[in-house]
């Protein structure tokens, strides 16, 4: 395939079109208020976490917090580059993760989850807490999560009951 050129010169006007679009979206250009806005967003995320509610909950409804009788496992959702490259709209993810959580709940496992506010340089984007008898059960639930199917990574940690 050496005769075929991998690179093709893009049309001349495309570069300016892309730059203008990024500028219009605030992705190019000085933004002195950026740091302040981020600080506020991070603080808001902490408040939402503490309060136990938020705009993007993955709660199946009903039994929000796992019952303390069963061991509890945290499923920590990390975004990989592969996950980000897929560019799946956030509202679709929230809907799909919510549906998945309802399915898990319907199978008799208490589950509760939250989406976390975006923090630059951090891969952690959300979590679920699930109450199941064993780590293998938690692993099976994590394997079925759409986050993994979309190229994301899930870290499983057992919550210390003491």
């Amino acid at each position: 395939m050496s005769e075929i050129q991998r690179e093709v010169p893009p049309p001349e006007g495309l570069e300016q079109r892309v730059v203008s679009e990024l500028r219009a979206r605030g992705l190019i250009g000085p933004r002195p208020w950026r740091a302040q806005r981020f600080t506020v967003a991070a603080a808001a995320a902490i408040v939402l976490f503490m309060a136990g509610f938020g705009a993007a909950k993955w709660d199946p409804g009903g039994e929000a917090i796992p019952t303390p009788a069963a061991p509890q496992f945290m499923l920590l959702l990390h975004d990989t580059d592969d996950f980000l490259a897929r560019g799946i709209p956030e509202d679709r993810l929230v809907e799909e993760y919510g549906r998945w959580a309802r399915d898990v709940h319907a199978k008799g496992h208490a589950i509760h989850g939250e989406k976390l506010k975006d923090v630059p340089g951090q891969t952690l984007s959300g979590f679920f807490i699930v109450a199941v008898p064993t780590l293998d059960d938690a692993q099976a639930i994590a394997d079925s999560c759409p986050h993994v199917q979309y190229g994301g990574r899930i870290e499983i940690r057992q919550i210390d009951p003491t």
Partner: protein
């Protein structure tokens, strides 16, 4: 991570070639949000992205332009979360492939093999004399096998990488490449 913890890791392409310059430009762009750094990144990667978009979409240049623009908009918005688990070009290619797939939704088909599973053949290279005719022949392939062919034979991706980019098994990628090459050979002889 102790014995009580486990991690499920998605398949990730690891490549570091050409990343040093990209890192510098990306760091500067993220720090300053400046047009100059972005334009440098754009000029570095767009010819390959545009070439790929033209062939994946096999459609008007306008569609390819829109796909490239969407790719840069998505990339710029997510660049601060990019972890350098792959080369920047690989990551951008992944975004572009998804943008193209969204445009091809409804047209995307995998052609099932009608004979035994193909084997990789080192000498299975098409005799190509006329680039224009080849481009037309590539454009006539079904979107699925065309994507595999373009990514493998023109852009040099491995079957493992293509599998991750297109959400398919590596075996499917090999099979699609076999069929694409066979169809092209028939079209060009």
């Amino acid at each position: 991570m102790d014995g009580g913890d486990r991690e499920r890791q998605a398949a990730v392409t690891v490549s570091t070639s050409g990343n040093a310059d990209d890192r510098g430009l990306v760091d500067r762009f993220l720090r300053l949000q400046d047009e100059e750094s972005f334009r440098a990144l754009y000029r570095r990667h767009t010819p390959a992205l545009y070439g790929l978009a033209r062939r994946l979409l096999a459609a008007s240049s306008g569609d390819a332009e829109d796909a490239v623009q969407d790719t840069w908009v998505r990339a710029a918005a997510r660049l601060h979360r990019f972890r350098w688990e792959s080369a920047l070009r690989t990551w951008l290619t992944g975004i572009l492939v998804n943008c193209c797939r969204e445009r091809l939704r409804g047209q995307w088909r995998w052609v099932e093999p009608d004979d035994a599973a193909p084997k990789e053949q080192a000498d299975d290279v098409l005799p190509l004399e006329q680039t224009l005719g080849v481009e037309r022949a590539i454009a006539s392939l079904p979107p699925g096998s065309r994507s595999v062919f373009v990514l493998h034979d023109i852009h040099g991706h491995t079957h493992q990488e293509i599998a991750a980019l297109l959400d398919i098994e590596p075996g499917t990628s090999k099979s699609q490449l076999f069929h694409a090459r066979r169809q092209l050979r028939a079209l060009l002889t």
